[in-house]
């Protein structure tokens, strides 16, 4: 398995409800939130000492980008660190508003849909070999991404035109309109063609995937990035072909999302019909064969085994299975049990509330966090690792250099300009540090 640079960008839902007499606009609350992350700065776009970046994205969402990671587990740890950075900022701002006598509640949600049918994303980035034909790569990847939701879908409730409410595996899937395009906000594709490798463009391109859900479950997050990294390695190595191409991927992704029983069959270009589970198993087997031939590492074996375990459990899917592991099943069980106990209906506002609050980054109020603290979910990261990642970059990529120099400049109150590939100290003589190679974690001699 080759080293690969990977990272996640998550757009968060944001809401401020002003309840007191003093009017305080949500835009100000968002300003406070950014200041809660970067003290003494009113910037809404900042790289942090952990090498990550926080900024205000299209549609006034706070967006957190992890630093460059070269291990899947690090991606998950840094993604979770982003949540904690935001949840800590929410606490700071809540306290600040109280002190100023402003009544209101601030919510930051790591989800992908609101109540009016808008969507915001979780973007995955993988540095890939420039020499692989993008057309072949995309065709081979599309059936994988259409079906990957059964591992890493966030689960959620969707209101139909007749006002009835249904549970879907991946809320984001219902907002996907194209297979491949450069669009991000109007007609969202499975694979986005934005190609900013932030490194040598002769050697690398960036694969930008915007079809996935944001995850609360560390295992879903790990599966999302980990299985993708395996499939990319196989395609780059000349394996896997487009024999599973779907007749209508956009219809298929929706049908699979809308069927939590996992029985719906989607049509391939070959005329054959397969379930999402069968398609995923085919990818898994192709990866097993490839790594069996090409040689493997413990990390690869662990990921293949986890992938297989989850597919096996999903195929004999009963109420108890995977209720500690993957987001959509955790949420499905939680909502179902709450509804049964209260003899309620899926249409009750409390159900929609639970769906949202599952993703609240707040350590006490967030329902996923409540399960985590009660030991009711399985995890792959330790709290100390996540806490460390709030301040410390991965030590094996250039993020290490970025983080260290930002920290130093901040400590010495020096003005600087920083981006993914360089940092300029603004005081004369305006020294600039270049970090063109994302794999290089060592200071220039």
């Amino acid at each position: 398995m080759h080293r690969r640079i990977m990272g996640l960008e998550s757009e968060y839902g944001f809401l401020f409800t002003n309840s007191g007499d003093r009017i305080f606009p949500p835009e100000r609350a968002l300003e406070y939130l950014f200041q809660g992350i970067m003290m003494n700065s009113w910037s809404r776009d900042a790289f942090l000492p952990n090498g990550g970046r926080i900024y205000q994205d299209t549609g006034s969402h706070p967006e957190y980008s992890t630093p460059e990671c070269d291990a899947v587990r690090d991606v998950v740890i840094h993604d979770k660190a982003g949540e904690r950075i935001l949840s800590r900022a929410v606490e700071t701002v809540t306290h600040q508003l109280e002190t100023e006598g402003i009544e209101g509640q601030l919510y930051v949600l790591k989800n992908n849909t609101d109540s009016a049918g808008n969507s915001y994303g979780c973007h995955e980035n993988y540095l890939i070999d420039r020499s692989v034909t993008f057309w072949r790569l995309s065709r081979t990847l599309i059936p994988f991404f259409v079906t990957r939701q059964i591992l890493s879908g966030a689960g959620g409730l969707v209101r139909k035109a007749d006002e009835s409410v249904h549970f879907v595996i991946s809320p984001r899937s219902l907002h996907i309109r194209e297979k491949i395009s450069c669009s991000t906000t109007s007609s969202r594709p499975i694979i986005n063609t934005r190609d900013e490798p932030h490194s040598d463009p002769q050697k690398y391109r960036r694969l930008h995937i915007i079809v996935g859900d944001s995850n609360m479950s560390e295992i879903s997050d790990l599966l999302k990035v980990g299985t993708t990294a395996l499939v990319l390695e196989v395609i780059e190595g000349g394996g896997l072909h487009d024999r599973m191409s779907l007749e209508d991927p956009i219809r298929a992704i929706r049908e699979i999302s809308e069927d939590p029983t996992l029985t719906v069959r989607v049509k391939l270009e070959s005329g054959q019909e397969m379930t999402a589970l069968e398609i995923q198993k085919t990818y898994l087997e192709a990866c097993r064969d490839f790594f069996h031939k090409e040689g493997t590492t413990q990390g690869v074996r662990d990921m293949l085994n986890l992938w297989e375990k989850v597919l096996v459990e999903l195929s004999r899917w009963d109420e108890g299975t995977l209720g500690r592991e993957i987001d959509w099943v955790i949420k499905w069980q939680l909502l179902s049990r709450y509804r049964e106990r209260n003899h309620g209906a899926w249409e009750d506002p409390a159900m929609a509330m639970m769906d949202y609050q599952y993703h609240d980054v707040h350590e006490q109020k967030g329902l996923y966090n409540l399960l985590r603290k009660a030991g009711r979910v399985d995890r792959i990261a330790r709290d100390v690792e996540i806490q460390a990642a709030m301040d410390t970059p991965p030590q094996t990529t250039r993020a290490r250099l970025r983080g260290a120099h930002i920290r130093e400049a901040m400590e010495h109150h020096r003005s600087y300009t920083v981006d993914w590939t360089y940092m300029r100290l603004n005081d004369p003589p305006q020294e600039t540090l270049h970090w063109a190679d994302p794999f290089n974690a060592a200071e220039a001699p």
Partner: protein, 66 residues
Amino acid sequence: MSQKEKETRKREDQEDAAPDPEVPAGAQERSKKVQEEADDILDKIDEVLEKNAASFVKSFIQKGGQ
């Protein structure tokens, strides 16, 4: 209802539930454990769940992102 009464009732409910003969014993046990865990977590959820659910849901409107 006191916490103790609630727990008693919960246990009774579980005893009443007939086991599903289709499910293998190991899976059934695990399933039961998950259900028990879910039951007491529901009480905790009631404590933190936003009380004005309807108004939150109505106001949770974001501009579309990417």
